[in-house]
């Protein structure tokens, strides 16, 4: 949506002016291209188109999760449970498939658990006014606990539907993407549309701008807040399914710390953690940035374990500072 909205705005404006609200996203895009350019100039194989496709293949589930996180962060909330919900969904699918349930039913159940947990967390956050950080932290413990409770070792998936979904290659020229990538793109498109063109989406922004005002403006604040956690739960569940495609198994310790990756991606994409400003497109860029950083490090292949961490931290730092300096945002609207 951001693009359509962007072009519309550019056309609509009588005189040219810097699209200030989209600036962080544009800066992210620019920096991403620079990073990619560095990779291409350093490593021959980096210029393969497949490298880009791989970034999508390898980060599809993270992207879906980050999209859900975008909704939550736009309202000024946070969802720490996503990593665990992803793992739980994969675990439940694997366990049910092992028990011989039909794949369609498994898919349904797996896709219901995440949103249900999200819904419950949203209700607790809204009705009992407990801080999202804490509620979703408890949700994170809970979902992770369920994982190990289901099985303390990983469960392989051998089901035909799953394996074909996992291994089907959709050829594009010499290169290929997977089914997961298509699903990811659909999720991104739906999310972007929802945020830009539905009342729900606009209410999300309003609540992020000022929750009290949104309430006094007569917006369905409670419903929206519960909805975003449910959406985040749903995205995590989809992410979990994609991850189970990706690894063809459910493992109790998988996706540990994914919530931090997702939050980082959202913020790198220019979304404000206090809520109210940001785009799904930014989140896509954020995930790509993380993916490209990782690809660069693997291509380099000389980094020590600890240097890997330091370099990741350093690149994150460079990226964020540059984005901050280039996309310097007016401290404009009054804080809440």
């Amino acid at each position: 949506m951001s693009t359509t909205q962007l072009s519309e705005r550019l056309h609509g404006a009588t005189r040219w002016r810097l699209p200030r609200r989209q600036l962080p996203v544009l800066v992210s895009l620019g920096l991403l291209l620079v990073m990619y350019g560095i990779g291409v100039s350093q490593y021959r194989a980096f210029s393969n188109i497949q490298v880009i496709f791989n970034v999508f293949i390898d980060n599809g589930f993270l992207l879906v999760v980050a999209v859900g996180m975008t909704f939550v962060i736009l309202t000024g909330g946070i969802d720490l449970s996503v990593g665990s919900v992803v793992a739980m969904t994969a675990m439940v699918s694997a366990a049910l498939l092992r028990d011989g349930l039909p794949p369609a039913l498994v898919l349904l159940i797996a896709l219901l658990i995440g949103p249900t947990l999200g819904f419950v967390m949203g209700c607790v956050i809204h009705f009992f006014e407990i801080q999202p950080f804490i509620v979703t932290l408890a949700g994170m413990f809970f979902a992770r606990g369920l994982c190990t409770w289901i099985s303390s070792s990983s469960i392989p998936i051998t089901d035909g539907f799953w394996t074909s979904a996992a291994q089907e290659r959709i050829r594009i020229g010499d290169n290929f993407v997977t089914v997961s990538v298509l699903i990811t793109l659909v999720v991104v498109a739906v999310a972007a549309y929802t945020l830009a063109y539905t009342r729900l989406g606009r209410n999300v922004y309003a609540i992020g701008g000022n929750q009290q005002s949104a309430l006094l403006m007569g917006l369905p604040v409670g419903r929206t807040r519960i909805a975003v956690y449910t959406i985040s739960g749903l995205c995590s569940a989809i992410g979990g399914i994609l991850l189970s495609f990706y690894t063809l198994s459910g493992a109790p310790l998988i996706a540990v710390g994914m919530e931090l990756d997702a939050i980082a991606a959202v913020v790198i994409g220019g979304t404000l953690l206090i809520g109210g400003a940001g785009y799904v497109l930014g989140t896509v860029l954020g995930v790509l940035v993380l993916g490209v950083i990782q690809t660069l490090i693997t291509f380099d292949g000389t980094l020590n374990s600890w240097w890997t961490k330091i370099v990741i931290g350093g690149l994150l730092f460079a990226f964020i500072v540059l984005q901050r300096l280039l996309g310097f945002r007016k401290k404009s609207f009054s804080t809440r």
């Binding site: 194989a45 490298v51 996706a255």
Partner: protein
């Protein structure tokens, strides 16, 4: 394995390239393993592409994909978890790149996806530990109370060592695990859990720790409780890192099942062989042994890690 020293690899560009994806740097053991691989590669004239997955399977899969893109000659990796490798291994196979597993196995039904597995058998380590205990307590008449310090919940070594140990001690009905808790493979975890074990159970005869570090942590708790480790409470661990061996030699531990991290030279050997298209056995176990207090004293001066 010094026969590889002057291989053809010295010819600059046609140096064999090995992509190696490591689990992480989560323990001293792992670091020794990494060091061994790096040193062996340098020695063997193999160009190593090293990647640290930071304990995440997703990262490992990504790394393998990137290795494929870079068209390395051989891929080796220590899988973070057992399952879930088929897809990416198929891609490697399609690209014609042979794969070697190290340290931990995968559970793929299709054995053609990788050339060989090089590593230790965690179940066996647990079993060795259990068997020693069964032998040691043969003459015991009353019940023998065992407490177990598990590794990180859900991790393969923890699951397997627990399994192997449990199977072995089933041989003697006197042996009973009265408490079992995760100490997360860390000294601090081992100590904190052991403190509570000691308070909850007046009579503990044996401690089985899934690695040396937890055992070393537990050691402190036992001493603080006024008991004598190695005597009042017998301690069995796995790994045989230096500090553990020292404790064993000092009589504070009673038995260690070795889990050697020094896979490097063997791995380089194998890499060359599979690259040359030679047949290799599907499963190669690292040369490992067990240590008692006596053998530890002898081995200690020459330990590398």
């Amino acid at each position: 394995n010094s026969d590889t020293g002057g291989d053809a690899g010295t010819g600059g560009d046609d140096k064999l390239v090995l992509g190696f994806s490591q689990v992480g740097a989560e323990s001293g053991w792992r670091t020794a393993n990494t060091t061994s691989v790096k040193e062996a590669a340098a020695e063997a004239g193999i160009e190593l592409k090293f990647d640290d997955a930071q304990q995440k399977q997703e990262n490992q899969i990504k790394a393998i994909r990137n290795f494929i893109q870079q068209k390395v000659d051989v891929i080796a990796f220590s899988p973070v978890v057992e399952s879930g490798w088929d897809t990416v291994l198929k891609e490697a196979k399609d690209a014609g790149i042979p794969v070697i597993l190290t340290d931990r196995a995968v559970d793929s039904a299709d054995k053609s996806l990788y050339k060989t597995f090089l590593g230790s058998d965690f179940v066996k380590e647990g079993r060795l530990a259990g068997e020693w205990l069964v032998e040691e307590t043969k003459s015991a008449t009353g019940p023998v109370n065992i407490v177990e310090l598990q590794g990180t919940t859900g991790s393969a070594p923890a699951n397997d060592r627990k399994k192997g140990f449990g199977e072995a001690i089933a041989a003697n009905p006197n042996l009973k695990i009265i408490a079992s808790q995760s100490g997360d493979f860390t000294r601090a975890g081992g100590k904190a859990v052991m403190e509570q074990f000691l308070k909850a159970n007046p009579k503990i005869d044996v401690l089985f720790a899934h690695n040396d570090d937890m055992g070393l942590g537990a050691l402190e708790a036992i001493t603080a409780a006024g008991k004598v480790p190695g005597k009042d409470i017998k301690i069995i661990t796995v790994d045989a890192v230096k500090d553990g061996m020292q404790a064993l030699a000092d009589g504070k531990f009673n038995f260690i099942a070795e889990c050697s991290p020094l896979l490097g030279p063997q791995l380089m050997d194998l890499a060359k062989k599979v690259h040359a298209g030679e047949e290799v056995p599907p499963r190669i176990e690292t040369e490992e042994t067990t240590f008692t207090q006596q053998t530890a004293k002898e081995a200690l001066p020459t330990r590398k890690y």
